[in-house]
Symmetry: D3
Subunit: 71 residues, 6 copies
Amino acid sequence: MPIQAINARNQFKGKIIEIVTGPVVSEVLVGTPFGTVTSVITTRSINELELRIGSDVVALVKSTEVSIAKL
Amino acid sequence: MPIQAINARNQFKGKIIEIVTGPVVSEVLVGTPFGTVTSVITTRSINELELRIGSDVVALVKSTEVSIAKL
Amino acid sequence: MPIQAINARNQFKGKIIEIVTGPVVSEVLVGTPFGTVTSVITTRSINELELRIGSDVVALVKSTEVSIAKL
Amino acid sequence: MPIQAINARNQFKGKIIEIVTGPVVSEVLVGTPFGTVTSVITTRSINELELRIGSDVVALVKSTEVSIAKL
Amino acid sequence: MPIQAINARNQFKGKIIEIVTGPVVSEVLVGTPFGTVTSVITTRSINELELRIGSDVVALVKSTEVSIAKL
Amino acid sequence: MPIQAINARNQFKGKIIEIVTGPVVSEVLVGTPFGTVTSVITTRSINELELRIGSDVVALVKSTEVSIAKL
């Protein structure tokens, strides 16, 4: 289902640079201008979306999931 | 309590550029060299951490909270 | 940015039936075949996505966010 | 501890139709009259709740975890 | 719908000691023998569950939502 | 990067009492005055933070991640 736009305010566009595959979840490293963004998603999604090293993706984060630390 | 390091793999360092204050939660916009990161945290935390426009902060995201979309 | 597909395994397609607007976050009720799905997103997203009663949307949930209770 | 009611606004009642077990987390597919809901929980919880194919469960989602995409 | 048990591994039993009500979400402070646990839920849930100062509740946290910081 | 303070309102200080290691994520059990707090984080973080049985840590939970159940 193609999506026109999503509410996730934080969108980090990039290319997949590494995938660590587990039996249930996998770790996806996305190279972006912000640096490497790491995501853990189901291995089932990796397969269904046919994610590979080099795939063009966007990492999405809902703003309620972002914490703030003071330096 | 000062913290030496945290597991959140996604850390975006920047300065607060805008705060929208609500009665319970507030929206914090963090300007980073690569774009704005948006966070929603409690207004109570804004006050206790004394967050202001210009505060040096790091926006933190746990990797299990990051979704991946295919372009 | 149009998206081809997203990893969120739980996708509930429907129409917005109610929006409760707050200063920072808003509550969006989506009528779906599963029943009403409730989402809390930033009011900024409501405005930017131009969400209205009747808008065609899909409510998305990452599977790591789903709890299981035994009846 | 039996619970009378929970705040999670999104509750999907169904039966477990598949469990993929990993060393730390497992994927639970819940069949509902309107489609499958997928959850990732700890394998420890699977064992303690004695979840099996056919168990009657409810999948719960907090509304702050629900994203909205425009079609 | 009464629930027999839930997968949330982190359960903090206590009494509500404060509620800050907003138009969409509210902040609930739960006093436990070991300290206060803070939750933000929809104001709609506060009303439907008839939560009040003194209500006996349990605060629940999915283990995938818990971060670890090193001291 | 040392952190002065973080917005996470729920902070449970303790010592690691058990680690279950998986290929992608690991389960960390932290003994605290509140009881055992369970966290699932990436195995990569376990290694980088050099978390071991006995490490002094604080388990952090954002208040938007805390559900409330009525007893």
